[in-house]
């Protein structure tokens, strides 16, 4: 039995269904992200685990105990909110110690644990500040320390970095991962940012319109997306509408150009299918044993570490990501260019 088990959880708000048949087993110490666009049900699912929403049907078990209808203040679950939600009338130390005070712990223990938590978030000197005297990133660290101070069974993070600047977001997410691994705490992390989910998680649950699309490790989710939604939501994806020439060989054609994708293709010869290809799998020039396509350069975007090139091939568009190098010669808009990719990089997506 998993440490946290969500079984057939469903939540309906006045006729419209927010979460449909959600099933997930989370092991102790695991960090699982719920990833999806806004309104996909990820936050509602998290709030059901926190106890702020009661599932319309289904069951949630934590450490073998059925908590489906338990009040939020009985669950011993730590929660971090997007808007920090620090108590403005209390100092940092009082915020961190609040849960322990409410739990009627002895004063020495509260002080000791508060100091320990402030050390963990690397803010040992700021205990007597008020929230309004802190930056957004610092406030969110305090919120994290406050949630962890009560030694919760599960840590729930609801888009904790959405309100922060890009630079702080990257720093704080590795900080969250470090703390989570140090304490070995079971964590659910809700985000709409795929990069965040990919970088921080042991496993990712991709959600769309209240349904689970796919559950897997970041590597699986990115490289082996099971649905068209996952493929297009996580990362950038080229999608080419092609006609099957030889399904057994994986041979496809579009706009007069022929190439080979991962074989076999589960479609009849002559059928129209969508071939998918990540931009980083494409490269300029001719490589032996690989597919070659020719197109016209439409836009070149320099992003620092990578160069993103958009090309037009007949009726279709593709995007190519090249790693930046100092010796690189950037293609010019209007140039005709040949691009190559191996057959295994391209797959035919199942039609929904």
């Amino acid at each position: 039995m998993a440490f946290l088990s969500i079984q057939h959880a469903t939540k309906t708000f006045a006729q419209s269904s927010a979460v449909e048949d959600f099933n997930l087993e989370i092991e102790k110490g695991e960090l699982v992200s719920f990833l999806g666009p806004s309104g996909c049900g990820k936050t509602t699912t998290l709030r059901m685990v926190a106890g702020f929403e009661v599932p319309t049907s289904g069951r949630i078990e934590l450490n073998g105990v059925n908590i489906t209808k338990q009040a939020p203040n009985q669950r011993n679950v730590g929660m971090v909110f997007q808007a920090y939600a620090l108590f403005p009338n209390m100092t940092v130390a009082d915020n961190v110690g609040f849960g322990l005070k409410v739990g009627k712990k002895p004063k020495e223990e509260i002080q000791k644990r508060t100091a320990e938590m402030l050390g963990l978030i690397r803010m040992p000197q700021l205990g007597d500040r008020y929230p309004y005297q802190l930056s957004g990133g610092q406030q969110q660290r305090v919120a994290l320390a406050r949630a962890l101070a009560i030694q919760p069974q599960v840590l729930l993070l609801d888009e904790p970095l959405s309100a922060l600047d890009a630079k702080i977001r990257v720093d704080l997410r590795s900080e969250i991962r470090r703390i989570q691994q140090t304490l070995g705490i079971t964590t659910i992390y809700v985000t709409h940012d795929q990069e965040e989910a990919l970088s921080i998680s042991d496993r990712i649950v991709v959600m769309s319109a209240g349904r689970m699309e796919q559950v897997g490790t970041p590597f699986e989710i990115y490289n082996f997306p099971k649905t068209a939604f996952v493929a297009s939501f996580v990362g950038t994806l080229n999608q080419l509408r092609c006609t099957v020439v030889d399904s057994g060989q994986g041979k496809l054609t579009f706009d007069g150009q022929t190439f080979v994708a991962t074989a076999p293709i589960r479609a009849a010869n002559g059928a129209s299918v969508v071939a998918a290809l990540r931009p980083e799998e494409l490269h300029f020039g001719k490589y032996d044993g690989e597919n070659q396509l020719t197109g016209k350069v439409e836009a070149v975007t320099f992003l620092g570490g990578i160069v993103r090139v958009r090309m037009v091939l007949g009726q279709s568009q593709i995007t190519l990501d090249a790693l930046n190098e100092r010796k690189l010669t950037l293609p010019k808009v209007g140039d005709m260019q040949m691009v190559s990719f191996p057959a295994h990089a391209c797959w035919v997506m199942a039609e929904n």
Binding site: A50, G51, F52, A71, P72, N73, Q74, R75, N76, V77, G78, M79, F81, A83, A85, L86, F87, P88, N89, F98, G99, V102, G103, Y130, P131, Y132, A143, R146, A147, I150, L156
Partner: protein, 293 residues
């Protein structure tokens, strides 16, 4: 100055330069309207003060104040009004804080209805309120279509009349109290704070006492101050219910005397300002907290 021709600044720079210039230019019209507005409030006040100091011919003095304060009627009616104000404020807080909190938390769809109800005193004059109250509560109130008595007539007893006037004052103060409390709760996002406290194990009582009330303190105080000002100066309800409060006393005094009412008006004005000053002092730090969000 360098003789070198300055290179043209990029467009953004130029805009910034123009903006800085406008900001530094003297905002003539803003100041003019501000001064006119200020005079509109200050001149009558100054006239009242000046008049109140001229009870003795050809000298400025505090005689009007001495005479007014010496009248036992002043202390009696003012004290009575303050007591009514304090009771009104306490009952209002007990009524408004949980209501506003519950609407923020669980019943957001009810906000428009409640806001409408709290604004009714602006639409329905106090005279209509008091006539309605007298008409209903001067005879016993029965359960509709039965002989089961719910309430004895309120206007016939002293206690009953006091209950009526406090109830009336609560209604008159509702727009101010509800709005300031509701705004205070929105500013601190009381809903998320409640959830944060809940997840840390707090029960409703703890959340109310340690999280909600301390964070809406400033809002409560400003609502309370406005209610206080309304109750102390109120004439209509008190006159028609026949209660000896400060409002009717000042009104009667104004019909017989010239200088004392001016002195008392100015005094109550000062008291109100002192109360505001106290609120500023007490909530100096807290106000900033709310502002930081």
């Amino acid at each position: 100055m360098s003789t070198q021709a300055p290179s043209a600044p990029p467009p953004g720079e130029r805009i910034r330069a123009v903006r800085t210039f406008t900001r530094r230019a003297f905002p003539l019209w803003s100041w003019l309207w501000f001064i006119l507005g200020a005079l509109y409030f200050i001149l009558p006040l100054y006239a009242t003060l000046d008049f109140s100091l001229r009870m003795e011919r050809d000298t400025l003095g505090l005689k009007a104040y001495a005479v007014a304060f010496a009248d036992p009627g002043f202390a009696r009616t003012f004290g009575y009004s303050v007591l009514l104000a304090v009771i009104t404020i306490l009952v209002s807080i007990l009524l408004v804080v949980p209501t506003a909190y519950w609407i923020r938390l669980r019943l957001p769809e009810a906000r428009r209805i409640v806001e409408f109800i709290t604004l009714l005193p602006f639409v329905i004059p106090a005279i209509i309120l008091v006539f309605g109250m007298i008409r209903i509560y001067s005879s016993p109130v029965n359960l509709p279509f039965t002989d089961i008595r719910l309430l004895a007539p309120l206007t016939t007893s002293k206690f009953g009349t006091n209950v009526l006037i406090v109830a009336g004052y609560i209604v008159l103060g509702l727009p101010y109290m509800y709005r300031s409390v509701d705004t205070g709760m929105r500013t601190v996002d009381v809903r998320t704070l409640t959830e944060a406290a809940q997840s840390l194990g707090a029960n409703w009582l703890t959340i109310m006492a340690r999280v909600v009330l301390p964070n809406v303190r400033t809002a409560l105080l400003s609502g309370a101050l406005l209610t206080f000002a309304i109750v102390v100066g109120e004439v209509v309800l008190a006159s028609y219910l026949g209660l000896p409060t400060f409002g009717p006393y000042l009104f009667l005094l104004g019909q017989h005397r010239a200088y004392e009412p001016a002195a008392l008006t100015f005094t109550t004005f000062l008291l109100t300002w002192a109360a505001m000053g106290i609120i500023q002092l007490v909530t100096g730090g807290q106000g900033q907290v709310a502002g930081a969000h």
